[in-house]
């Protein structure tokens, strides 16, 4: 009874929906500006069993429709500044091709191809179920879902207009060679609540652009990044690079930060992996980063700050080993010291210290999360399988020294024995957030 009453009152709290949605968007945008220079990446996991599953996706940097949430203007979310700039210069090709399926007409209305960025606008007419906010959601695929390319499927939202809905897609051309004149396959798989196939071959013609060879490189810990060239389009800039790393570092990752000649950060739009080549023990990935503005004339050079995050394999601590046991990265200064291990038939307790108490610029919450998620009691036979961890609590023993105590509830395990269980330490999740910086590179634009 009481519960219902509480619940009714809860329901009575009036929700200013638009403002809440706006708050969510603003929050995400703020998050983005905090990590704007960090790449959008796939989840990093390094357990062997799961690795198989993820090998193909380790190069799947989401390259499409990366929204311009970095724009420092409120309400400027999801706008395609490249498209707008080109539209203002009348550099967009008008198109008018309609496909009708299940009473829904999708019309591709325009397209552009600038440097390495493409954009398509389209209208939707027909009876479609809208979302709460009045928009409709569509799901599309490009290049027929070609698996050799990065991500090829994406969700798009369409805004209501007087006659129906309108939406736009922006993508970075996913191949190394940029054809001057081409069509690309675009298929909508669902519009609102209707499933179907609205297929187009969108004709695009590349606007005049300039390519400048760069030929500068930086190395660190056996990795090399070579800046190949820079493409200046009408309203966008593309930086082509090659990233070479040893084969065993296949989850290693490179990221860039860009600055103009006044040291101001330049926001980038997307980063795409275009090609992967293996030679002996070396793997080279050709990549391209898109900056959604033509920089020439605005800055004399761009300064690129590359940083690599070195992947780490999972390491395991046998429970029969006498503590303290130190788990150390062989490639970088990361460690976990298992100080004490004890257990009875209900609880398993482990005390540990992270990075010898050196925070290395990371915040406390980061280490708490690491302590909770990445030092886990697992069954030896299933140690490489990623599954829900045994219920455990983490207590901070000493915040300054990064010492923690995890207590695992093993009362539910039928056959706990220290021979059958191990501790899994995933330094990788720390490494991925603490990239190693290389010397910055200046790319002259003049």
């Amino acid at each position: 009874m009481e519960k219902k009453l509480f619940h009714d009152q809860y329901e009575k709290i009036e929700v200013p929906r638009d403002q809440v949605v706006q708050a969510i968007k603003t929050g995400v945008r703020r998050a983005n500006s905090k990590k704007k220079l960090r790449k959008k990446r796939v989840i990093f996991i390094s357990t062997a069993a799961a690795a198989g599953l993820f090998i193909s996706s380790s190069f799947m940097f989401p390259s499409f429709s990366k929204v311009m949430a970095d724009m420092p203007v409120v309400g400027y979310l999801y706008k395609d500044s490249v498209g707008e700039k080109l539209a203002a210069q009348k550099l967009i090709t008008k198109l008018n091709e309609t496909v009708s399926v299940k009473g829904i007409d999708v019309t591709v209305t325009s397209a552009y191809y600038d440097g390495a960025v493409m954009g398509v606008t389209f209208d939707v007419k027909g009876k479609v179920k809208t979302e709460k906010d009045g928009r409709i959601q569509g799901f599309y695929e490009i290049f027929n879902g070609d698996k050799t390319l990065g991500e090829t499927k994406e969700v798009v939202y369409m805004n209501p207009t007087e006659t129906g809905f309108t939406g736009k897609i922006q993508l970075s051309y996913p191949k190394a060679e940029l054809p001057a004149d081409t069509t690309f396959p675009l298929e909508f798989r669902s519009i609102g609540d209707k499933k179907g196939s609205w297929r187009f071959d969108v004709p695009v013609k590349q606007l005049p652009f300039e390519t400048k060879a760069v030929n500068q490189e930086r190395t660190r810990e056996g990795m090399k990044v070579h800046f190949d060239s820079i493409i200046t389009g009408q309203a966008s800039t593309a930086v082509n690079y090659s990233f070479t790393h040893p084969k065993e570092g296949k989850y290693d990752d490179i990221r860039f930060e860009f600055f103009d000649d006044n040291g101001r950060p330049i926001h980038w739009l997307s980063d795409t992996s275009l090609e992967k080549n293996e030679k002996g023990n070396q793997v080279t990935i050709k990549g391209r980063t898109i900056i959604p503005q033509a920089l020439k004339g605005k800055t004399r050079y761009i300064e690129v700050q590359p940083a690599v995050s070195l992947s780490e394999p999972n390491q395991f601590v046998s429970l029969t080993e006498a503590a303290p046991v130190r788990i150390q990265s062989s490639r970088q200064d990361l460690s976990v010291t298992i100080e004490k291990v004890s257990y009875n038939n209900k609880h398993f307790m482990v005390d540990f210290q992270i990075n010898n108490g050196h925070k290395m610029g990371m915040y406390d919450m980061f280490y708490k999360d690491f302590a909770r998620n990445d030092i886990i009691l697992v069954k030896e036979t299933r140690k490489d399988i990623f599954e829900e961890p045994i219920k455990h609590k983490v207590k901070v023993l000493n915040e300054k020294q990064l010492r923690f105590r995890s207590t695992f509830d093993i009362s539910g395990l039928s056959h706990f024995s220290p021979q059958k269980y191990v501790l899994r330490v995933n330094l990788g999740s720390m490494a991925v957030n603490m990239p190693q910086e290389m010397e910055p590179v200046k790319i002259n634009l003049e």
Binding site: T26, G27, V28, K34
Partner: protein
């Protein structure tokens, strides 16, 4: 696209999926925030802060079925941050005025309860909000609050009694007090 797909995408850092997910739960997020902070402006701030923090950390979410639990945890943390800040800003006697019974009559019943909930201590408030408003099972609350289930029960019990006192129904049983 179903929620589980959205969560998977969100974990990979897909902003749209992430926003969509939060929009799906926006009523709950806002209302819970409101219960903690008691006014629209702060509640919106809490939602915004939650969206920001959650998006920064979403990659660390390992189990998609814990998405909402995880999000709620962040929300509560953000709500307390706002409250803490407010404590520093608001002079003490303004809170005392809130306690004068006569003033309460004009307020909406829901707001009345919100006011009372604000007077509870942190664990009691968490337990009450999560149990009564969010309909979470005890195990879920224990998970969010990082305490054993029995402790949750204790907080619930004490919190309820405290609420009864605050709402002026001291000495009566639950039904009469809050209904």
């Amino acid at each position: 696209m179903n929620e589980s797909k959205l969560i998977q995408k969100a974990i990979k850092g897909n902003e749209k999926a992430f926003e969509k997910l939060l929009e799906i739960h926006s009523d709950q997020l806002y209302r819970t925030a409101f219960l903690y902070v008691g006014n629209r402006e702060d509640a919106l701030d809490v939602v915004q802060e939650t969206a920001c923090k959650a998006f920064l950390a979403v990659k660390q979410l390992r189990e998609e079925r814990y998405f909402l639990t995880w999000l709620t945890k962040i929300l509560i943390r953000c709500a307390y941050d706002v409250l803490k800040k407010r404590k520093k800003e608001v002079p003490a006697d303004e809170n005392i005025i809130e306690l004068i019974p006569g003033k309460r009559e004009k307020r909406d019943e829901a707001l009345d309860l919100v006011g009372a909930i604000e007077q509870l201590n942190e664990p009691q408030r968490n337990a009450i909000i999560l149990f009564y408003y969010q309909d979470l099972p005890l195990t879920g609350i224990a998970e969010i609050m990082n305490i054993p289930e029995n402790t949750v029960k204790t907080h619930l019990y004490r919190g309820k009694n405290q609420l009864k006192k605050l709402l002026g129904g001291d000495g009566y049983n639950g039904k009469e007090t809050i209904s």
